[in-house]
Every structure is written in structure tokens, then in C-alpha cells.
């Protein structure tokens, strides 16, 4: 039995699946406005079950790391396919970044041909004929006039095959210690590169199962992990567990997700946590089965950002 600081790590796997992903860098005159734009653009992006995309903030960037030398934030978006992802980022950037004071938006994933998502080449029409473009070393930028100057964004955004749904479950003796452990896990994952935790604060309390007894509902409560249903339905919870939180990780690559899961699990193993498990569907849903033990063994030290 594998334990970390006395917390049992179940010998199970997280079932993840492929999604189309992109990374964008949002910059602004100040870190404050870059963050506001990024937060707004990634809002309502928790689960593809009910949102157009899963989204989150990956990294805060200094001026030396951004394309235009201003403070920025790197955000990741995931959706079921290229078309849906394209629609999602177009709406989100158009409504949340173009509208945000001083903000600009750049692609942070290389792509070509079919991997490219529309961005400035569609948003430019907001310029109503007054837009113009710039070509710097193969990078085409659109300059769209707005009331504080110009909104600048890349012509297109690259996209890649990402990995979504990497997860682990923190089973705790009570809600307070469970939430503290989950917060620590989310914080640890925030330091990992190329991943986001799209749920509120990085934590999900409503882990779901596929389907429902009600027609038309794609997902419903995962009663096996609900402590209040322990005596009404088959339960996966040990008798000492009274609260469970799920951490869901989407990433640009499988190693990035594995690394984040390992970092999160280690951080979550604190007093008050009884066990760490993972959500899966017996290997039937997604192509990626991330064993918790394997992830911890493969990533003994969290990978640093480059």
C-alpha cells in the first residue's frame, strides 16, 4: 500500500481523454488588467458538459515573457474539437478581451494548416473597415480600433491535441480538512507548467458520473462519493470519510497532466485526509489511463516552468 504522510494513495487510475487545446497570452498595460481580462475570458469554463470550453489561467507572465513586452497572463482553452474550440475562443476573446481596457491577445501555440483557429482574422471585422494589419517575421497581427486606442491580436491561434479530465479525489474526515487539502493541491498545481484546473478555485465538489436516470441529462451526481448517500446507494467512501473533493486537471500534454497530478496529490496528503483516489469509468471513456502510483513514481519532483 502506497502512503504519503500517512495518507493512503489508492492503486487506481484517472481516466483522461483527448481534447483540442490552445494557449493564448493576454497582455495589458498593467498586471491587474491582464489578470482581469484573463479571468473574464476563462470564466464559465469549468466542464465541457455544460460550457463551450474548459478554460483556466496557466501562468502569470512578466513583460520579458510576452510578445509585446507588457505584463501578461497565459490562459489555456480546451474543447471537443477544433471547430468548437475556434467558436469558443472567438466568442470569449471578442467579448472579454477586446472589450477589456488596454488588453491584447496573442497565440502561444504554434500551428499550421488545419490546426489553426480563427482569431484576429474574424475579430477584425469589428473594425468596420478601419482595421489594419502588421506582419512581423511571419506573425500577422490585427489592429482593431477601440475607444482607448487599438486592440491588437494575432491573426490565428494554433491548436494541439491536449489531455483533459486528469483527476484525483481527496477523501477527508471532514469538510474543513478536505477543503484545506484541496486548496493546497490546487496551489501546487498552479505552479506546474501547461496545465489548468478549470473548476472554481481549482476544486470541484460535484464529481459526476456519466448519464442520469432523467432523460437528456448527460451527467449526474456520483453517489458513490457523496457522504450523505452512504446508506442509500453503493458507496466508495471509507467509513471515516465525510467530505470528498475532486481536482480536475487539463493540460497541453500527458506528461504535464501527470506531473500536475503528482504535485497535487503530494500537496493534498495532510492530516485529516484519509485517502486519495481517482475517478475513472473502467477505462471505457478515455484513451489515457493515468495511474496515480505511476504518476507519483514518474514525477518525484514537480517539473519546473521553463
Amino acid at each position: 500500500m502506497l502512503t504519503i504522510r500517512g495518507v493512503e494513495i489508492e492503486d487506481t487510475f484517472a481516466e483522461a481523454f483527448a481534447m483540442r487545446a490552445t494557449a493564448l497570452v493576454i497582455t495589458a498595460d498593467s498586471a491587474k488588467w491582464a489578470h482581469i481580462a484573463a479571468q473574464t475570458a476563462t470564466g464559465y469554463g469549468t466542464s465541457i458538459i455544460g460550457c463551450d470550453a474548459e478554460a483556466g489561467i496557466d501562468q502569470v507572465l512578466g513583460g520579458e515573457q510576452t510578445p509585446d513586452g507588457r505584463p501578461g497572463v497565459r490562459v489555456l482553452f480546451f474543447s471537443i474539437n477544433r471547430e468548437e474550440l475556434g467558436k469558443a475562443i472567438l466568442n470569449r476573446i471578442g467579448q472579454c478581451v477586446l472589450t477589456c481596457p488596454t488588453a491584447a491577445c496573442y497565440s502561444d501555440v504554434l500551428g499550421e494548416g488545419d490546426d489553426l483557429l480563427p482569431l484576429g482574422n474574424k475579430l477584425r471585422f469589428f473594425g468596420d473597415g478601419f482595421q489594419s494589419s502588421k506582419l512581423f517575421g511571419g506573425r500577422r497581427l490585427w489592429r482593431i480600433p477601440v475607444m482607448d486606442g487599438e486592440f491588437v491580436c494575432d491573426q490565428t491561434a494554433g491548436s494541439i491535441k491536449g489531455v483533459a479530465g486528469g483527476n484525483f479525489l481527496i477523501m477527508a474526515e471532514d469538510q474543513t480538512s478536505g477543503l484545506q487539502a484541496a486548496e493546497r493541491a490546487a496551489e501546487a498545481i498552479a505552479g506546474c507548467p501547461d496545465v489548468v484546473t478549470p473548476f472554481p478555485g481549482g476544486i470541484c465538489r460535484s464529481g459526476s458520473k456519466v448519464g442520469s436516470r432523467y432523460a437528456g441529462l448527460k451527467a449526474s451526481c456520483n453517489e458513490a462519493y457523496c457522504p450523505t448517500l452512504r446508506n442509500l446507494a453503493p458507496s466508495a467512501l471509507p467509513s471515516t470519510v465525510n467530505a470528498t473533493y475532486e481536482i480536475i486537471v487539463d493540460g497541453l500534454t500527458l506528461p504535464a497532466v501527470e506531473n500536475a497530478l503528482a504535485a497535487g496529490i503530494r500537496a493534498a496528503c495532510q492530516p485529516g485526509v484519509a485517502r486519495v483516489g481517482a475517478g475513472n469509468y473502467g477505462g471505457k471513456l478515455g484513451p489515457y489511463n493515468i495511474g496515480l502510483h505511476e504518476a507519483l513514481a514518474n514525477h518525484p519532483v514537480p517539473a519546473a516552468r521553463t
Binding site: 513586452g69 496573442y106 502588421k134 506582419l135 512581423f136 517575421g137 511571419g138 506573425r139 497581427l141 487599438e150
Partner: protein, 275 residues
């Protein structure tokens, strides 16, 4: 790397359009030596002009010698690297669409004329019509980046359409004339008739403001975000950091009103007051 060493200085014009990575890579040394170049009014073997050394397995050519009288080195190149230690001659990199040309010395007229991609980096001054067009043609630079670390003579960026032309020093008269697009950056002062007939292009002047933008109108003082991207692009290409691109603001003039007025001339200012 293929090495071409000039045997002796040549006073008459030399059409060296054959000297380009596209044309030479993959050829044997003997085949290269037998390529024909026009020197004045006669065709001669390349080996009469250059001593050929190294091999042409890699897409990289180094030229040693003063090529002042040469024309069309690196013409229409699409990839690889051409390094010239000395004068780069006239129409260097004309019509190139990719690759990299580095000149450790000055360059003559017509540098990067009608280029559409790639990078030309000139270590010293450049002549007239850089990033411009050739006689009888109507479109200037259509893409790519030209860096001049010294001064440029007249007609820089004339009729340019796209891409970047950055001059660290001064530019002569008629810089950016009739440009329809692209970005012309001038690190110091400019000659008269800047941006004559400008339509859609951007001219950024970091030095002293020029006189007489008679057919331009003052828009205001801004700090365009795209200049940050331009600065980053230039630094990635190896251009020394231009501090003024990272601070202050830019008095923006819209024009040329006699030619549609969609172009812009930006002058660097330390503060936002109108000069």
C-alpha cells in the same frame, strides 16, 4: 559551408544572381566553378571571380571580399544563409522570400528590393531604394525583415507593401514614399518629404522630428501596442534594443491626405505633449 573568396576587386558591374543558396546547394565544387556570371559585357566562369572552397552540402555560403560592383547576390533565395564579409553590392537579396543574408559591411542600392520573406541584416550603411522596387516594377518590399545598423540613403521603403524595414541611423529623403503597407522604423533623423504619398503603411521615427509633413494631420499622442511586438521581433532578429521603442509615447500623424490618408507617421516623444 561553401566559401567564395573574391580573387581580385572588379570595377565593372558583375551580375552575381547565381550566387544564392538555392542555386548552389547540392552542386559539386566543379559544377559551382563552372557556373556562369556576367562581368561587364562578358560571361565568365564563377571560378574566375571567386576561389571556391568548402562544400555545398549545407545551405550556407560565406563570401569574402569587396563586392561593391556586384549585383543580385542572394537574389530570390528562399532558404539558407548567405554571409558576406565586405560590401554586399547592389540589389542584394532582391526578390528573396526566405533565408537569411548577413552583411558585415555596407550594402549598395536596392537592398532587399521586392523581397517577400526572410531576413537581411546589414552591419553598416545602405544605399538608395532599400526595401524598395526595381526599375520597371511597381511593388516594393512585400514581406520579411531588413535591418540596417547604419544609415540609409534616399527612397528607403519606397512603395513597400508589407514587412519590416528598420534603419538604426538616419534615412535620406523620400523615406517610405508611396508605401502601401509595412512598417518603416528609423532610429534617428530623416530627410525631407518623409512619407510622400503614404497610404496604409506605418513610419516610426525615433530621432528628431522632421519638418514639413504638409499633407498629414495630427491624430494625437499614443503608444501603439504593436510597437512592443515590433521591438520584440527586432531583438529576436539580432537588432540591438532600441530603448525608445519601450518608453515614451508617439505623436501620430495621419496621411498622406492627398493619397487616401490611411498611413501613419509616428514620432517618438518623451511625454504626451504635442510638439
Amino acid at each position: 559551408m561553401l566559401r567564395l573568396s573574391l580573387r581580385h576587386n572588379i570595377a565593372v558591374p558583375v551580375d552575381a544572381s547565381v550566387v544564392s543558396p538555392n542555386r548552389l546547394i547540392g552542386l559539386t565544387r566543379r559544377e559551382i566553378e563552372r557556373l556562369q556570371v556576367r562581368v561587364g559585357n562578358r560571361l565568365v566562369d564563377l571560378s574566375e571571380v571567386f576561389a571556391v572552397g568548402g562544400d555545398a552540402n549545407e545551405p550556407e555560403i560565406a563570401i569574402e571580399g569587396d563586392c561593391t560592383s556586384f549585383r543580385y547576390l542572394g537574389t530570390a533565395m528562399s532558404s539558407g544563409r548567405l554571409r558576406i564579409e565586405g560590401h554586399g553590392g547592389h540589389y542584394l537579396g532582391a526578390r528573396m522570400c526566405g533565408g537569411r543574408v548577413e552583411v558585415y559591411g555596407p550594402a549598395g542600392d536596392g537592398l532587399g528590393a521586392e523581397m517577400s520573406g526572410g531576413l537581411i541584416d546589414v552591419g553598416e550603411n545602405a544605399g538608395k531604394h532599400i526595401g524598395s522596387l526595381r526599375d520597371g516594377h511597381c511593388r516594393g518590399q512585400e514581406g520579411g525583415t531588413i535591418l540596417v545598423r547604419g544609415n540609409a540613403s534616399d527612397d528607403a521603403g519606397m512603395q513597400m507593401r508589407r514587412g519590416v524595414l528598420a534603419i538604426r541611423g538616419h534615412a535620406g529623403r523620400l523615406a517610405g514614399a508611396y508605401a502601401h503597407g509595412g512598417t518603416l522604423l528609423i532610429g534617428e533623423g530623416v530627410g525631407d518629404r518623409l512619407g510622400l504619398g503614404l497610404n496604409r503603411a506605418s513610419i516610426v521615427v525615433l530621432g528628431s522630428p522632421p519638418d514639413g509633413l504638409t499633407s498629414f494631420v495630427y491624430d494625437g499622442c499614443f503608444r501603439p501596442v504593436y510597437l512592443g511586438v515590433l521591438a520584440r521581433h527586432l531583438e529576436r532578429c539580432g537588432f540591438e534594443r532600441l530603448e525608445r521603442l519601450h518608453g515614451g509615447c508617439f505623436a501620430t500623424y495621419r496621411g498622406d491626405l492627398a493619397y487616401g490618408g490611411r498611413g501613419e507617421v509616428l514620432y517618438w516623444q518623451a511625454s504626451s505633449s504635442r510638439h
